[in-house]
């Protein structure tokens, strides 16, 4: 990992995102979400700029980024598939569905398919507990998931 300064246009974009949220009360999470929306991860180059803008240490920033499941320090696959692991989904076969899916793709949780098509993340509850098992591809929710629907979904996203 190098600490060389980022290309000017990326630095500008990072600075613009920080500026857009800096005046909020408690600006750090909105900044991190803004960066991840723009870059699909929190670019290493953003660290010093955030610390400088908010007057926090690198350790504090690292502490926050690493605390939350949502934030990534490297880009994920082109699609993110979240499979619910919580109790209501387990009650209707969610566990077997998740295990089958991972086995089929040869991945563990948080893994990305070799072509970079899809990253599989666990999620604890999507609020679709009355139509479980539930999954979410990017921001699209899916209820009553079964292996056939999972298969066609994976084919559709190129996994």
């Amino acid at each position: 990992m190098t600490n060389s300064p980022p290309p000017a246009e990326i630095a500008d974009e990072i600075a613009a995102i920080i500026d857009a949220h800096k005046a909020l009360e408690g600006p750090l999470l909105p900044i991190l979400h803004g960066l991840q929306d723009a870059f699909d991860h929190i670019p290493q180059a953003a660290g010093p700029l955030i610390c400088d803008a908010l007057n926090i240490s690198r350790a504090e920033l690292h502490g926050v980024i690493s605390f939350y499941h949502d934030f990534r320090d490297a880009p994920a696959g082109r699609h993110i598939l979240k499979i619910c692991r919580a109790e209501a989904c387990q009650a209707v076969g969610g566990k077997a569905l998740a295990e089958d899916t991972l086995a089929k793709l040869g991945l563990d949780w948080h893994g990305t398919t070799p072509g970079g098509a899809v990253t599989i993340e666990p999620v604890y509850c999507l609020g679709l507990c009355a139509c479980a098992p539930a999954a979410m591809i990017d921001d699209r929710v899916i209820g009553r998931m079964d292996s056939a629907r999972m298969q066609s979904l994976l084919e559709k996203v190129g996994a």
Partner: protein, 506 residues
């Protein structure tokens, strides 16, 4: 012709968007003029996507609809016809106060909201002093619907009495418990009621700013709430001059970042401030030193969204529902392995058995019900022999259960309760904020100890019991403190599932 189709996540997850598109296309083919209104969900998730057609002022339901049903639905001879939706047993048996408008109106149509009783509560509150508002909430008997059941009026009184240059209303919309979706449904189906409730809370305690901390797992709810706040601001419902009263209240939607523990109020506040979502020791109470160290009301979505109807109909009207110290209505969420799952709002006091067997219709698989977990991942697994328990805060507590956010997850007899107990510990280990030792270390040891039990190690069970006692008594918040509840209830009520390994070992 007016058609109503839900835009609720659960309906969308079951194909509501495709059904809406098919109906629009079919209407065009037939040359029919139709007006599709997207609403929240009525809560009958097993009937979703539920299409409603207005005929002579009555809404006739069709569900569960598929795109292939479009032509038959439009011609009125579909075999998915259910009759008038309001006359369905599930609807008629409810006392829908908090959810009165959900599934009925377009969530983002402020005029429709007002036409269905919206803003009447806020108008009334604007004519009252802060103390009068707090007293009204106390009279209603409303208690925190997020799980703890703390009297909302008492909390508001503390913030009202605190002296500070800035106070806050924070809505806890980090609904992470499995089996719960009432917060999501109301935010997607009737967002203005939450906004109105927060504004009334602001008037009550003298807070001019509010935040909704909304979990990132709910992208649809985030989009609708964000839009609703923009509309409310544009229409003068929020801002420096709330409905021309000269009093200020404004609010923002903040997105969480996937940490379950941020549903705990103090870690939520830390997260909102941009810190790690680590639990704070209490005292000081958030009511005195909350967001940015200022007096803060932290209430659950359903608590705040219930405030408008209390002011619209009067506190006594609300308090007349319920039993004992559980006043008003409870928004039951029936989930998991169940024939008819969904949301059912009723007066406190209904029995668990009636919910599981009568409303829910037993399991989806048709096998016997083995257990119901009430109150989320931190609630007890109750066997069928305990289903006579009435659903009220104290009543369920007396049965060794926890009402929590009133989510009920049903399991059939294929569920392995040792596996479920292990999962509870594993979940606690993954989601622990790490601040206190009993939770951070205890949960990891809990998984290992349950694995020993599974292998037939006879010494491990007393150790697990002891560990659970330490976690219960020594943890800083409910995550470590209540994880022993599902674990020990599984051990106590389903001892057979913990003996398989022993037989194998022998």
């Amino acid at each position: 012709m007016k058609l109503y189709i839900p835009l609720d996540s659960a309906a969308k997850a079951l194909g509501a968007d495709d059904v809406a598109a098919a109906l629009a296309a079919e209407a065009e083919t037939q040359g029919l003029e139709i007006d599709i209104i997207r609403t929240g969900s009525r809560g009958m998730i097993w009937l979703e996507p539920l299409v409603e057609i207005e005929q002579d002022g009555t809404r006739i339901g069709f569900g569960p609809a598929t795109p292939e049903d479009a032509a038959a639905i439009l011609s009125g001879n579909s075999d998915k016809a259910l009759g008038p939706v309001e006359e369905l047993d599930w609807m008629k048996r409810q006392d829908r106060l908090t959810f009165a408008r959900v599934g009925v109106i377009d969530p983002l149509d402020l005029a429709d909201y007002e036409a269905h009783g919206g803003l009447a509560g806020l108008r009334r509150a604007l004519g009252m002093t802060g103390q009068e508002i707090v007293d009204e909430v106390k009279t209603s008997g409303l208690r925190g619907r997020g799980g703890a059941g703390f009297p909302t009026g008492i909390k508001w009184q503390t913030v009202h009495d605190a002296d500070a240059p800035q106070k806050y209303i924070v809505c806890n919309a980090d609904e992470g418990d499995s089996g719960t979706f009432a917060d999501r449904m109301i935010m997607e189906g009737d967002p203005f009621t939450l906004i109105e409730g927060m504004a009334i809370a602001g008037l009550a305690v003298g807070a001019t700013r509010g935040y909704v901390y909304l979990r990132s797992e709910y992208p649809d709810a985030i989009a609708i709430m964000t839009r609703a706040v923009e509309i409310a601001r544009a229409k003068g419902l929020l801002g420096a001059d709330v409905m021309g009263s000269g009093r200020a209240f404004d609010m923002e939607i903040r997105k969480g970042a996937g940490a379950y523990v941020c549903g705990e109020e103090t870690s939520l506040l830390n997260s909102l401030e941009g810190k790690r979502g680590v639990v704070r020791a209490k005292p000081p109470l958030p009511a005195l030193e909350g967001f940015l160290g200022r007096p803060t009301v932290v209430n659950n979505v359903i608590s705040l969204a219930t405030v408008p109807v209390i002011f619209e109909r009067g506190a006594q009207h609300y308090a007349d529902f319920g039993m004992g110290r559980s006043r008003g209505t409870v928004t039951l969420q029936i989930a998991g392995n169940v024939e008819r799952g969904g949301l059912f709002e009723t007066a406190f006091g209904i029995s668990l058995g009636e919910v599981v067997n009568d409303l829910g219709g037993g399991t989806m698989t048709g096998r016997p019900v083995k257990a119901a977990q009430v109150g989320g991942p931190l609630g007890a697994y109750l066997p069928a022999s305990k289903f006579d328990a009435p659903l009220g805060y104290e009543e369920l507590d007396a049965k060794g259960g926890l009402l929590g956010h009133a989510g009920i997850v049903i399991f059939d007899d294929s569920a392995d309760m040792l596996e479920m107990a292990r999962f509870a510990m594993e979940f606690c280990a993954v989601e622990s904020c790490g601040k206190c030792t009993p939770c951070r270390i205890g949960a990891v040891r809990g998984v290992e100890t349950i694995d020993r039990i599974a292998r037939g190690d006879a010494d491990a069970l007393p150790l697990l019991t002891d560990l659970c006692e330490v976690m219960r008594d020594g943890s800083l918040c409910a995550l470590g403190g209540f994880t022993p509840l599902p674990v020990m209830s599984a051990v106590t009520h389903f001892a057979d599932d913990f003996a398989h390994g022993k037989e194998a070992a022998e």
